[in-house]
Symmetry: C3
Subunit: 353 residues, 3 copies
């Protein structure tokens, strides 16, 4: 059985540069929410709506702002940003197995591929000709790394990831299982009703510190490369079509789909299920709410939405039917305004008389 | 060539506890719809709109309710619920290969993993340290079972399924190809515009008799576990984020996406393409229609919908433009009501005069 | 380092049957857009909105219609359809590795499987009993080909594709990584709140010249087969449920989801994120715009849409609230019309008086 790691509060305070209030030698062996944390666990208060749970909290210690710490009598680590402090400490308690350096006996590596001696290549992984695997990289079991593809230092690929040929991945990139990078985009020319395939001769270039979710697909470029900026975070089941460009530090939630050649700016947040048509541009600093259909470029930072609010199905059927009558309703409304104006003026005339 | 299995009608009647009308020794070697069934096939009538096909049906026999059997002259197996009877018999005619017990010569099993002797582990499968594979389990070719993960007895994993570490699967669970269970959820803390990764230290717990569709992803918990109840059925391409909880016997159709920490009750039906925001609760017995955007908790059982009805694109463009004018229209409507009330009262005054 | 292939303009002209204007011996070693092409690259003008880039174009040559060539002074290949000509030439410059014929030493092939001697089977691929792999087929690394499944001549499967048992694939079919063909569809009969699995005993039949995108899933039929016609093109992350039928040369973009037993005609275009309910029919020649919810059959060719247009989130919240009031607004509008008619007639009466 694997022993959980444990740290004293003073060790954790030192690691964070936090102010320690309470028992410096309290042992912490895990993290949990305010409601669930026990005496050997650390918790945190980031969302004000959970402040109510602080009074009954049984945690061994809590990450708090100075303001919140004043009203808390238990052990506390006082920091400027408790959520960020939690993020930093979370890695201490991660039970994700660390792969040993070296190439697994069952992996297949092409003669002219280069694998750094500090990298780990898992069982049955395939590294094709000309590929290069950087220092400290983990290539999970069953990954396939295509010809001439590169993975920068410190990368971590879960089992069962596919990189096609000529995919260039930056440093410290995390790719979850089932992701497919560099697949052939949806390019066809129509010849008298029959679709003729267009070879997709571009590649994919992915920056540093990117994360790519499970079963997400990023297609290679048709001519130039598909580009994913530094610090971009993509959730699961996302579809990035050929020649999309995504700016630095943009985050995109699950099931979003971005059509070909669309360019998204930096520091955007694209919520789950959003769809974007192709060949548009979204500027920096845009937030698109869940399931929004983006059919035109966005040139101003801010929040954008589409769709209708959920209703009980019976009421919804009425609303949906009325929407189809909306153009007629608008015309009738305009007609009423004219008629009423005529009545009012004739009424005025009449009252004048 | 593989011989199709064949059963006499009396054998099938006995298996179902059905009343047999007609030729007891009729041989049945397959199942088909009422329109397509031939003399050696069994069919069924479940949906009343297909009753019209009964008169010309050429099936060797039909599963019918007593009421429908009265008006049918062919061979029949009379049961209370023909659709359920069809479900029960369908397994007799399934040509899905049965894996032999034992570990394939090419599979890689860690020394401290436990594989029951009655389990089957397919070609190139990887079973990591501390994992336990129960009695009668099938682990398909190319599956990767992470460290300390458990699969309860009678489970069936198609080829190419990933379980990360610390995933606990109940009994008789079916997982289709490409599914990823236990991936690292989308957890990041924003530090001055840069996303810092939060280690996802929870696991996934899946109940008994669950089915998980092809390329569906279920993320591990951030702190506590992601929880899937007994008898839950998840279709293909579904995205279940970290710390979601799904109650017993809830069914969810393809391409649905559930955001983090949302809790869905028991016996719900979530149709295809539905999206739910995070941190909400859906009570037991809720039906959400296809592509609905669920942005708030649902506290009453019943059916819920959002979205607009499909129109020819030209009409739709008008409706969509009008929706953007709706707030203005509502104000003008209110204004008209006031004006008309004034006119009417002045008109009344005038008629009084 | 791999040498890029190079062709003279006259070679390319001959290959296309194009009229060459300019330097016949100009060497072309790649393709690029009008803005990005350099002196050794060929470009093309297909979309009129890019005509403005022609004047500053530095390409070694451009694929042009006769009309556009008249106003262009550089080297040109004059063709009837520049986009189609580009599609044809694109394959000359594709750096996708060509797999050598033969079965990789690490692949596992059942004794009774048939692999044509001209086919290529990649590392760790699994070919199960009774499967047949046709002439010139490439089966990528880590593919799993189920029992009795067939792949017609000239097919190309990327790494990590799953075919279940009894899947029949036509000629020249391309399947991208992560696709799953023949998974068990979502079929359950409800017995007192508990879902009983229905064995999915149909197969999948896929025509010639089909393309299937990365992580797309096509379920096997419940009774009869799921059918994909000739020349159908499916993008990434698409979900095709059991017993769907798709007609010849229909194209479907990413993230679309088609529910069970729905039948789509020939030469349709289904845009990204479209969802269709089950058991409906869509006739030939239908175009469905992105993210449309198709809840009923379509019997007339043409374009169809649903959804609302994106707005800034503040305005959207007002629109969404008003939509929920629409039925009430419609009634009030009707009421106003009645009242105004009464006022007008009484006004008339009054003016008559």
């Amino acid at each position: 059985m694997m022993q959980a790691p444990a740290f004293t509060l003073s060790q954790l305070a030192e690691r964070l540069g936090a102010t320690l209030r309470g028992a410096a030698d309290q042992l912490i062996s895990g993290l949990a929410t305010l409601q669930e944390a026990g005496p050997d666990q650390l918790s945190f208060l980031a969302n004000p709506q959970y402040r109510k749970y602080l009074s009954d909290c049984r945690a061994g210690a809590v990450l708090l702002t100075a303001a919140d710490a004043d009203s808390y009598s238990g052990n506390a680590l006082v920091v400027a940003n408790p959520y960020l402090a939690y993020a930093q400490l979370s890695h201490l308690f991660d039970r994700k197995p660390q792969a040993a350096a070296g190439v697994h006996a069952t992996a297949w590596v092409a003669d002219d591929a280069q694998v750094d001696t500090s990298a780990s290549v898992g069982a049955y992984a395939v590294i094709e000709g000309g590929a290069r695997i950087g220092a400290g990289v983990t290539v999970g079991a069953h990954c396939v790394i295509g010809a001439r593809s590169l993975i920068g230092e410190g990368g971590w690929l879960a089992p069962r990831v596919t990189l096609y040929h000529d995919v260039r991945i930056g440093k410290r990139v995390v790719i979850q299982s089932g992701a497919v990078i560099g697949g052939e985009g949806f390019g066809f020319a129509n010849e008298k009703g029959v679709w003729q395939k267009i070879a997709q001769i571009g590649g994919v270039v992915i920056g540093d510190d990117v994360e790519i979710g499970a079963n997400t697909t990023i297609d290679r470029g048709a001519l130039a490369d598909t580009l994913i900026g530094n610090g971009v975070k993509l959730d699961n089941q996302i579809m990035i079509a050929h020649n999309v460009q995504i700016g630095d530090n943009t985050a995109m939630a699950g099931c979003a789909g971005i059509s070909g050649s669309t360019k998204i700016g930096k520091n955007c947040m694209i919520a789950g299920g959003v769809g974007m048509v192709g060949h548009i541009e979204v500027c920096d600093g845009v937030f698109v709410t869940g399931m929004t259909m983006v059919t035109r470029s966005i040139t101003e930072p801010g929040s954008y939405s589409s769709g209708t609010a959920m209703q009980p199905a019976g009421e919804w059927r009425k609303s949906a039917a009325r929407i189809r009558q909306l153009d007629d309703m608008a015309r009738r409304l305009q007609q009423l305004e004219k008629q009423l104006a005529a009545v009012t003026s004739s009424g005025n005339a009449s009252s004048d008389a």
